[in-house]
Amino acid sequence: MVNDFFILMKQELVIFAIIFILLFIKVGSKEWKNTDIMNLVNILLGINFIVGFFGGKEGILFNEMFITNPLLVFEKSILSFGTLIISLQSYSWLKNHKHVPEFYMLLLSTLLGMFYMISSGNLLMFYLGLELSTIPLAALANFDLDKRRSSEAAMKLIISSAFSSGILLLGISFMYGTTGTLTFSELPLLITGDSLQVFAFILLFAGFAFKISVVPFHLWTADVYEGAPVAVTSYLSVISKGAVLFVFVSVLYKVFKPLALTWYNMLVVLSLLTIIIGNLFALRQNNFKRFLAFSSIAQVGFILIGISGISQIGSSSVIYFVLVYLFSNLGAFGVVSVVSALTGKEEIDDYKGFYKTNPVLSWILTISLFSLAGVPPTAGFFGKFFLLLSGAGSNNYPLIIVAALNMVISFYYYLRIVKAIFMDTNAQPIEKVSVPSASKLALYLCVAGVILVGVFSGVYNSIFNLSFGF
């Protein structure tokens, strides 16, 4: 029993241990150098990532509060890997920051929350995990301590997430009222589809939609992304979104199976809205972080189309896309992060003529953007293709046609940046940036991921084998 406990919760325990180590460092009498702390945490995060590969077996703990299986372990590994990359990328930003241990403690608490959320077998446990993963994020958004925008972002984030949590809780309580249970394994048997249940489900759905910024619940996204430090923005847009998406698919496919028709229709409408509005707003952005915020909204729209396929292709392509999206988005954010930390420039216009001064970073950014746009041979192509193919599986071709044409729009705004980098001239280009080796490693990992995860089909095939059907 005790053994089981340690093996099944290994990833949570490692994160927990890291948080404790940081706490001791903080309260201890010895003064640690920032770089030492960062190196230590990065190594420990690496260990955490590796731990994910060993002994992934199925298990249930605490009366179905905590469930684990190889797929969930894999999903957590994806998230830990992403966290490691973000941590490496924010090296130059954190180096001179006053509160490095706190940064990591908050960051890892949210990661822990996501792990619990992914492993939850009960709506309450899910809610707990979600809150743990959200509230520290608001503090993190405020981590550019001397910038007003940063605290504004934090305020917006905490208010909007509190609001969405409220909606979610209301949904949960209605769900409990109509079925008498909160356990995932019992819910599908008790959901009959009467109107109060559907209402409760819609509230729950809205709670989810808030977290993954589905239109019309997206209004907080752009401001928070723009104001927060780049590291936190990339964490919000990749890790936190990815975690909720993992849960979202499995909850829809497994728990709310009886309401499939309801959520299919909702998904169709919301995905179209999300893609179109995300794209239209992304067209006009000039701040790089805001731009990535809107483009990531559009990406979520594509993910919803993948989910609407209601098949094993759907669930596996969503998980696969989150992985691909992690590499590509972190590649783009990584470059923005490094440039912003060293030069303070965050506008797209600043990137004009970027290729002349920073060819390597330009290529990394370009490849990442191509992957976000879905250009082969990058992984993004495969991700998008499978999402849309999955959506086409439910024979809703008008949806697929609109989505495919929207890919062309998204193409335009990604190419606009490529054009700025390669073709435009600039009187004051961003000067040559010297990238710290930790960030360099992270960027190379992202590019390698973008190039390899697609063409080498093993990754997708094994995700497919792990994932679940409808």
């Binding site: 192509f381 490529v418 095939n461």
Partner: protein
């Protein structure tokens, strides 16, 4: 022969270019790599012919079939028939010529050659794919390098043109995607949905499905090959692109579309092809005539060639749309012929432009006296373009007309006559452009000191000319080569009839 070499070789070359140091190394590696591609395609040709003599079959040869994304039944399935080999040869010729022509590129030469070679990998991959997912993958691989090539090394309003081209081609890809998804979910081979070209051709797609998805596939590929009214990227794209990219664009890239229209849309959905036949023929005829008349109005040599490409690619679509054995053979021959001819034309224009720094017809004149070699090449390319016997254009267009005439319907007869008549217009604009630039008095005395073609330019022109003449004088080898492949497609089409 292992066909994957055709993808691996350019890929390795491109990587080698990336790691090369110095202009000289970059050039040498690109040239060696592209010549090796040419060698490889000749080896492929000879092996294929031998094999076919032995086997006496028209099926795909040198197949490799590996699972790729097995759970969705997506395979890396490659193989060739005569049509693919003809296209591969065309690609190899144009790539070598393109590398030679851009020999003097000095700004960002490494990136330039990298993209050029990378582009060719996409084209080869497209032509050898037998799985339409793989095909789509390579088709899109070949789009983005064009955007960068035009946007970075182009001239004129290059950014606008690059963006227009990329977006229109991506729009085409989006339509193709819808077509592919429709095909995939409506086929069942051994109980699985499939992307495999050969399996789909054996499993019958229901008529109403074909009717819905054929336009997506055909228009999607059609955009690549300047199907009217989706041709607008052609003039801007071609005229802004650097010489080698123009050659690629007109010589290879537009052929991707024609090949896809034939191999995917028409071959897999023959009933819908018959049903929509009149639309295709009408659009193709419009493209032919509109292209020809639009060319007459142009003053810029590159625009002249770009608009005439719309007209010439109209013949490809006309040949496909007529759906007879001869007309399809003609369409394939026209693809090869136009590829070589237009590449030569663009090469010649590039050579003129790099010397005189203008492409305006009215500013040029008397070039034959100053740069005789380039001028001769220019004249030959023009004559080939207007379909003079002895060059490939005549053979290909003639075959298309013969095939078209076999269609007894009045509409198709009228279309054929109109298409034939367009040749007169072609003659007008070609002779006028060629005459004004090459003959007459020297308009600008700055031109007098210009040097004639360098060795690389001579070699490039010679190579393309050899191909054009080889088809023009002895067309039977090409029609023999593509014959069985065309027959396979024709069989599907006649069964339906």
């Amino acid at each position: 022969m292992n066909l994957s070499l055709l993808i691996i070789l350019p890929f390795v070359t491109a990587l080698a270019v990336l790691f090369a140091s110095g202009l000289k190394q970059v050039r040498t590696i690109s040239l060696v790599g592209s010549v090796a591609q040419l060698g490889l395609s000749f080896v492929l040709l000879s092996q294929y012919l031998q094999q076919r003599l032995v086997d006496k079959t028209s099926r795909m040869l040198f197949e490799t079939d590996m699972g790729w994304f097995q759970r969705m039944n997506i395979h890396y399935h490659i193989g060739v028939d005569g049509i693919s080999i003809a296209m591969i040869l065309l690609t190899a010729f144009v790539v070598v010529a393109g590398v030679l022509v851009s020999w003097t590129t000095e700004t960002l030469s490494k990136e330039f050659f990298f993209l050029l070679i990378f582009l060719s990998a996409g084209a080869y991959g497209f032509f050898i794919s037998l799985d339409i997912f793989t095909m789509f993958f390579f088709l899109e691989v070949a789009v983005i390098p064009k955007f960068l090539l035009i946007g970075i090394w182009g001239s004129g309003k290059k950014e606008y043109s690059a963006m227009k081209l990329a977006l229109m081609l991506m729009g085409g890809s989006a339509l193709i995607f819808v077509g592919l998804a429709g095909i995939y979910f409506n086929t069942s081979y051994n109980g699985l949905h499939t992307f495999d070209l050969l399996q789909i051709s054996q499993s019958h797609i229901p008529l109403e499905v074909q009717m819905f998805f054929f336009p997506f596939a055909f228009i999607g590929f059609g955009i690549f090959t300047a199907l009217f009214p989706f041709h607008t990227w052609v003039p801007d794209g071609h005229s802004s692109a650097p010489t080698a990219a123009s050659m690629f664009l007109a010589g290879i890239s537009m052929k991707l579309g024609g090949y896809g229209c034939l191999r995917v849309a028409t071959y897999l959905m023959p009933e819908a092809a018959h049903a929509y036949q009149w639309v295709i023929v009408v659009l193709a005829t419009i493209a032919i005539i509109y292209g020809a008349f639009a060319t007459m109005m142009q003053k810029d040599l590159k625009y002249i060639n770009a608009y005439s490409s719309i007209s010439h690619c109209g013949f490809v679509l006309l040949g496909i749309g007529m759906l007879t054995r001869t007309s399809i053979a003609g369409a394939v021959m026209q693809m090869v012929s136009h590829g070589l001819m237009t590449a030569l034309f663009f090469a010649a224009i590039g050579m003129v432009y790099s010397r005189t720094h203008t492409r305006m017809v009215d500013k040029l004149g008397g070039l034959l006296k100053i740069i005789p070699f380039i001028s001769t090449v220019f004249v030959i390319a023009g004559l080939c373009s207007l379909g003079l016997p002895g060059f490939s254009g005549f053979v290909a267009e003639m075959t298309v007309f013969m095939g078209s005439w076999q269609n007894p319907d009045t509409l198709y007869r009228v279309a054929t006559i109109l298409a034939c008549a367009s040749i007169v217009v072609t003659a007008v604009y070609i002779l006028r452009a060629v005459g004004q630039t090459v003959m007459g008095p020297i308009t600008d005395k700055h031109y007098e000191g210009l040097g004639d073609a360098a060795w690389n330019e001579k070699l490039a022109a010679g190579l393309l000319l050899a191909g054009i003449v080889a088809i023009g004088v002895a067309p039977f080898w090409l029609s023999d080569l593509i014959g069985p492949g065309v027959e396979t497609i024709n069989k599907v089409l006649t069964v339906i009839k």
